[in-house]
């Protein structure tokens, strides 16, 4: 069957409609808004200006927050990768019978709503919460310590919820590696470690790449968790953007911050994808003739 253009158009129409209404139009609006003058009676005034961008780049405060946001996102991604790889390795090896159970365990952080999950963390980490009580009982501390509202806790909570996004693509990549490659490697004289290093790791890279990009993008744009668990002590870009939009009612400047965050994220992802393109291309399995 040859696909006729009008048939393709009909099939693609719903997706295209959603994309235009919920993605292209709002983004266009943000881009446009970022070049407008502020107004006190409407989201933005009639004038067109570059002053919002000038303010952003002149003020080291916002660039500092941007840098910290990228650093926190990168740490979350790195920690996620370190924790997820062994899990993925295990998950790719378990038999069919246990497979579903392990999968359920891995995605369990996603089964709890974002608010419930964060309030859970707040209870656990509070002054008289279980962690402090355990530390007290063990005699490791002599009075409760402040665990909440630190950047470490934000990182911990985000790592917890983003692990599935790292584990699942890596598991898929690992399951795509034919077992005979491991046998070939071993029979050629490479031990378990050498086989892992020269076969497993490089061939899992397509999964690692997807996982890293997914988690990084999610981590950089996370809002609820930094606000609830970081409070006023952890200030990241999404928080600042929302403050500008809602609290300060400075929509054009908020739009500038949103633009900068998006462009920074995009740059990071592109640089990463470009730097690792050779590895990803070589490791792509399944296109053998």
């Amino acid at each position: 069957m040859t696909a006729r253009p009008w048939r393709l158009a009909i099939l693609g129409a719903p997706a295209l409609f959603l994309l235009v209404v919920f993605f292209v139009l709002p983004y266009g609006e943000i881009v446009m808004m970022s070049f407008r003058t502020p107004s006190s009676s409407a989201p933005y005034g009639d004038g067109v200006t570059l002053a919002n961008y000038a303010r952003m780049f002149a003020d080291g405060h916002y660039l500092g927050i941007l840098a910290e946001t990228v650093a926190v996102g990168a740490s979350i991604t790195a920690i996620c990768l370190l924790i997820s790889f062994p899990i993925a390795l295990h998950l790719s090896n378990v038999g069919d019978r246990w497979h579903t159970l392990f999968y359920a365990c891995v995605v369990s952080p996603l089964l709890v709503g974002v608010l419930v999950r964060n309030f859970g963390w707040m209870i656990i980490l509070s002054f008289n919460g279980p962690i402090n009580q355990i530390l007290l009982a063990l005699g490791l501390i002599d009075r409760p310590v402040r665990l909440l509202f630190t950047v470490e806790v934000v990182v911990l909570a985000l790592v917890h919820v983003f692990i599935p996004f790292m584990v699942l693509p890596i598991t898929t990549a690992l399951r795509n590696i034919p077992p005979s490659l491991y046998e070939a490697s071993r029979s050629l004289g490479a031990g378990r470690f050498a086989t892992f290093w020269r076969v497993t790791l490089p061939l899992s890279f397509p999964g690692v790449q997807s996982g890293v990009i997914l988690v990084f993008v999610l981590a950089i744009s996370a809002y609820v968790t930094p606000v609830l668990l970081g409070g006023q002590f952890v200030v990241l870009m999404p928080t600042v953007i929302v403050q500008q939009l809602i609290a300060a009612f400075a929509w054009p400047f908020g739009a500038v911050l949103a633009m900068i965050l998006t462009l920074s994220t995009l740059t990071c992802v592109l640089v990463f994808a470009f730097a690792t393109r050779g590895l990803a291309r070589r490791a792509a399995i399944g296109r053998t003739p």
Binding site: P178, E183, A184, R186, G189, A190, V199, R287, T288
Partner: protein, 351 residues
């Protein structure tokens, strides 16, 4: 190059017996094939030898040294897989160099040895390609080079030609045999293709339900099979019920069949009057002056010959006639039997 001894090898998967007491001696430098249908245990035997699976019982010795305690990386065998198992992310050169790098061979020597072996398989010009840019036959040659370059104790080949088309399979057969002879390396080969087994091997072990049914030279297993299973698996075969009239020499008998009496070979010491099956390969029969009386039941033309079915009493046998032979259906034919190619088998159905 090494002599390999497999003794009493057993392996079961969840109660299903895959191999059930395999004994096999592979002489140094010889080419031995495990031949059998899928599920007969041939691949399991090879995988036990390679160290990919641990047998439940039995011993494997190389040059008299027990290797059961060694992992695959310690056994020093070159394994060639059915699906080639080339590393998709490494170039042809790096695939072949892999085993040498694992052995920490100096770089300059690696380059020289890889170049030499790639020359042997005529792939020197493709050394920078990735495997996916190669044809199936080229990939299999890389796999062969990768296994040979480490100069292993033995070459283990698991249906290496099964994924290739017929013409390529034929060429690769010659290449494998030539490389094995040239290197003087011991080889154990697994296949379900009897022609491949016979063309390549010094010795063929026909496997049946986890055991070796018969081990012998290709000529032996084809012309003097020990049982009907082996005869059937090694080529086209017809059978006639036969009763031994008398011995006419050592291992040579006059036998009575529904089509008359013929002279046939068999194991020594068969008793006169005992019932057997007379194995007749199609090429052992020719229309002649004296022999089996048969009627032509059907035939079809295949170009190089006519495949015919002949009725003898209530039994049917197959033979090949020259393409130009003119015979009508129902014609009476006398078939001369090539004495060296008629062989007596135990009649498993007889009481």
């Amino acid at each position: 190059m090494a002599q390999i001894e497999i003794a009493g090898l057993r392996k079961a998967y969840n109660g299903a017996v895959a191999i059930d007491g395999v004994d096999l001696n592979v002489a140094s430098g010889s080419f031995v094939t495990l031949l059998g249908p899928s599920g007969c245990g041939k691949t399991t035997t090879l995988r036990c030898l390679a160290g990919f699976i641990t047998p439940d019982a039995g011993a494997i010795r190389v040059e008299g040294r027990d290797i059961m305690g060694l992992g695959p990386e310690g056994r020093d065998f070159g394994v060639v897989f059915q699906n080639y198992a080339l590393f998709p992310h490494l170039s042809v050169f790096d695939n072949v160099a892999y085993g040498l790098q694992a052995r920490r061979v100096p770089k300059a020597e690696i380059a020289a040895r890889v170049a030499e072996v790639l020359g042997l398989v005529q792939l020197g010009h493709l050394k920078d390609r990735l495997p996916r840019a190669l044809s199936g036959g080229q990939q299999q040659r890389v796999a062969l080079a990768r296994a040979l370059v480490i100069r292993p104790q033995a070459l283990l080949l698991d249906e290496p030609l099964a994924n290739l088309d017929a013409k390529l399979r034929f060429e690769m057969r010659w290449l494998i045999r030539e490389l094995q002879r040239k290197a003087g390396i011991t080889a154990l080969y697994v296949t379900h293709d009897q022609a491949e087994a016979m063309a390549l091997s010094d010795q063929v072990a026909v496997m049946k339900q986890g055991r070796i049914a018969q081990l012998g030279s290709p000529r032996d297993i084809y012309q003097r099979p020990r049982e009907r299973y082996v005869a059937e698996f090694t080529g086209e075969a017809s059978y006639l019920k036969a009763r031994i009239a008398e011995a006419v020499g050592n291992g040579r008998y006059r036998v009575a069949t529904a089509g008359g009496e013929v002279i046939a070979n068999g194991p020594a010491g068969l008793a006169a009057g005992s019932r057997h099956l007379l194995l007749l390969r199609p090429e052992a029969l020719q229309p002649g002056a004296a022999g089996l009386r048969a009627t032509l039941q059907g035939r079809f033309f295949v170009g190089s010959a006519q495949h015919c079915e002949m009725r003898i009493g209530d039994e049917v046998i197959k033979l090949y006639l020259p393409p130009q032979a003119e015979l009508g259906e129902g014609a009476a034919v006398t078939l001369a039997v090539d004495q060296d190619a008629a062989w007596l088998l135990p009649d498993e159905a007889a009481p």
